[in-house]
Symmetry: C2
Subunit: 214 residues, 2 copies
Amino acid sequence: MLSDGMVVIPQATISRLPLYFRVLNEYNHLGISVISSEEMAGNLGITSSQLRKDLSYFGDFGIRGTGYDVSDLLKQIKEILGMDKNRRIAIIGAGKLGTALAGYPGFKMHGLEVTALFDIDEAKIGQQEGKVEIFHLSELSNKKRELGMEIAVLTIPASVAQQVTELVIKAGFKAIWNFAPVRLEVPEHIILQNEDLVVGILTLSHHLSRKLGS
Amino acid sequence: MLSDGMVVIPQATISRLPLYFRVLNEYNHLGISVISSEEMAGNLGITSSQLRKDLSYFGDFGIRGTGYDVSDLLKQIKEILGMDKNRRIAIIGAGKLGTALAGYPGFKMHGLEVTALFDIDEAKIGQQEGKVEIFHLSELSNKKRELGMEIAVLTIPASVAQQVTELVIKAGFKAIWNFAPVRLEVPEHIILQNEDLVVGILTLSHHLSRKLGS
DNA sequence: ACCACCTTGTGATTGTTTTCACAATCCATT
DNA sequence: AATGGATTGTGAAAACAATCACAAGGTGGT
């Protein structure tokens, strides 16, 4: 699948790429330079054919009879995920969750940088959260231009989420990661990803009920 | 699909139940007692047949020609998700993310209660985080029995996650919600759910790269 | 009691994702 | 340069999930 045009890549495939990145990173640190799909998949609890199929959507990265060059594949996955772009992130809502995310080490590790926090609580404005300053939401547009941020993370109450979303879009953000438990209406060209923390734990709760019931 | 035996319910179906719960809750608060699948689905941006199919896995809750009784369906979904059980949660790791989750209003709203935090940092032991006390990890087993907790949430570094998981299982927890970016090995009977925050934002980053590249 | 209308519940269909299985091909050794 | 052993890349098959389309069954009006 070298040439494409507009191949549709399964969402599930993209979700697995960060896992591949992590395993490769580990092997890389251990000084291992070549890895087979079988070993890598075993590490992740998936099948080797799924791993190979996933990678095949993006190109031919392996060497038959040998496996994959760790640092080469690492570079490829970084590029696919945009990790080579050093994307900057704005977090809107400097509450518990927002500030926790601002300090989340997983971001830096994946080429992402939380560059500013925004809130409307005057008591918080001007404070530093780790190395990140908290600005008033009214400065969103200015700061976006100044700091070159691309992704807005919404850690705000559901009741104001749609309203803030419109501000975010007006400010020129192209991608939104929404933690508010509400369906946001956005124009076609905006990339929206919802993260609903309640889903995960209710899924657990459901499985608990099922298991104990049987 | 009234009788079953062991019908397999799609994971995707279970993930949508919390959404249904929210919409129903809103309608309930507005005093609306009957709702059609069409209206409910429109609210969520899915098809009405998907909603009906999802519900059909659990029983026949609707009335043909009319729709669904809001408070009745609400009760059913609560039961399916185990929200009627008032499940108690232990959070292991009283860092930024752990304490943020301890105060997350979404839990209480869905019949879940964070009952204790655990850490190994002596400076944190005994402190209150909101209404929740922080205990030393060595007390996990005692406190579990004392407080009747069922679900363990892991907000700890990946490097210690497997080790802590074994403690958690030894303490008798049956369900684990894991935020550490690592694959945990658990026995068959343990219910494990991984929540990888990096996946969401790297998905966004990937879509950004694709869109701008085309 | 009948009719017109509405909405559910669900087989059948279509679409998507995973798994299978093997030809293609690369490496190492002689 | 030929052979044996290994592992990729990928069509084809299977499994899974979403959508369609309509019979079944309910409501309200006359």
